[in-house]
């Protein structure tokens, strides 16, 4: 039911915003500190969240408690996602917040978060209005739903294991870097 699903949307959003603020990710200078290797909260939070959800989906699927094929996996469009990523990354450093954390900063009363939200709306609106011009690029290099296991022709569990091991190695490296500096 629509109202049920909107209730779930709100509850998930509340939990999302609560955790982001708890992690300190509503705090732009702290967040930007990641890019100067002063504060590793962004990497730690994101990578541990990805691994937690990835392992959860994998094991729930293994035990038949979730239907992986029913999950919405975003489609891959190589060039626009790479170029979009670069433009996004530039904005991320200048702003110190991303769309989710910008909304969390807004909730925490931060006026720079509200300015971020305004800028985001403007950016999306202007790009949307220019869409007929960029549409050929936007639709280019379409690979459909493409996952890393498909790309590497490797078992799902193996990629899950590799990503998990990479995360643990990264956390270990961060720990050593932090004690050294």
């Amino acid at each position: 039911m629509l109202t049920d699903s909107l209730f779930i949307a709100f509850i998930l959003g509340v939990a999302f915003g609560f955790v982001l603020e708890q992690a300190g990710l509503a705090d732009a200078p702290k967040l930007a500190g990641q890019f100067y290797l002063r504060d590793f909260a962004v990497l730690k939070v994101m990578f541990s969240a990805i691994v937690t959800a990835m392992l959860g989906v994998f094991w729930l699927g293994r035990f038949g408690l979730i239907d992986f094929s029913a999950l919405y996996v975003p489609e891959t469009f190589l060039a626009p996602q790479a170029i979009g990523g670069v433009i996004f990354g530039l904005g991320f450093v200048i702003c110190g917040l991303c769309p989710g954390t910008g909304c969390a900063a807004t909730g925490a009363g931060r006026i720079d978060g509200m300015a971020t939200v305004g800028g985001l709306l403007l950016g999306v609106l202007l790009t949307g209005l220019a869409f007929p011009l960029i549409e050929p690029f936007y639709e280019s290099t379409a690979l459909g739903v493409r996952t890393l296991p498909q790309l590497l022709d490797a078992p799902y569990g193996m990629i899950v294991g590799i990503v998990t091991a990479t995360a643990l190695l990264t956390f270990h490296w961060i720990g050593r870097f932090e004690t050294r500096s």
Binding site: S5, L6, A9, F10, I11, L12, G13, A15, F16, G17, L20, E21, Q22, G24, A28, F35, K44, S48, A49, V57, L71, V73, P74, T76, F77, L78, P80, Q81, G84, G85, V86, I87, F88, G89, G91, F92, C95, C103, A104, G107, A108, I111, D112, G113, G119, L121, V124, L125, L126, G128, L129, F131, E135, F137, Y138, L143, R146, T147, L148, L151
Partner: protein
């Protein structure tokens, strides 16, 4: 009294559980930039409705239902509310401009808007942001999501030395 932030690994584990709950309950992950696309579509429908007939970007969002009460808009309202509750409970809520220590409030707000605009452009092209692509698509091992995430972080680390003044 402002209390310290949570341990990032504990917070990350918590965020992972919220994301997992989203997958289990709704079949999709979390998002943020999609809400801005919905609101932009609402504005276009209000002020330039003719655009919807020729612009496939807005037409797609308009076809997916009422923009002001879209799933993603309600979720983002939740993000704001959840962060407000968290900040209030832990003594961190305040109306203030938060930025680099040597940057004036006016330039901080300018960079926040400018960075927001750039992220808006990038998120449209990439069909999502750090939430919908990096976190949600990343956890499902989507190729495009990992490409977006690696490109975004590579660009951010690459340009950070030039933006040092903003955060020092």
């Amino acid at each position: 009294m402002q209390r310290p932030y949570a341990d990032p690994y504990v917070a990350g584990f918590g965020l992972g559980l919220v994301l997992l709950a989203a997958f289990v309950l709704t079949g999709q992950g979390l998002g943020a930039s999609g809400a801005f696309a919905n609101v932009a579509t609402g504005l276009v429908a209000e002020f330039r409705p003719a655009e919807l007939a020729t612009n496939r970007y807005f037409a797609k969002y308009a076809a997916s239902g009422a923009p002001w009460t879209a799933w993603m808009v309600i979720e983002v309202v939740g993000i704001v509310a959840g962060a407000a509750v968290s900040a209030a409970l832990f003594g961190r809520f305040r109306f203030a401009v938060n930025g680099g220590p040597s940057v004036s409030q006016a330039s901080r707000l300018t960079t926040a808007v400018a960075g927001g605009v750039a992220m808006g452009v990038g998120a449209v092209l990439a069909r999502g942001c750090t939430s919908g692509q990096a976190l949600s698509g990343g956890a499902l091992l989507s190729l495009g999501s990992w490409i977006f995430m690696l490109a975004a972080f590579a660009a951010a680390f690459g340009v950070a030395p030039l933006a040092r003044r903003l955060w020092r």
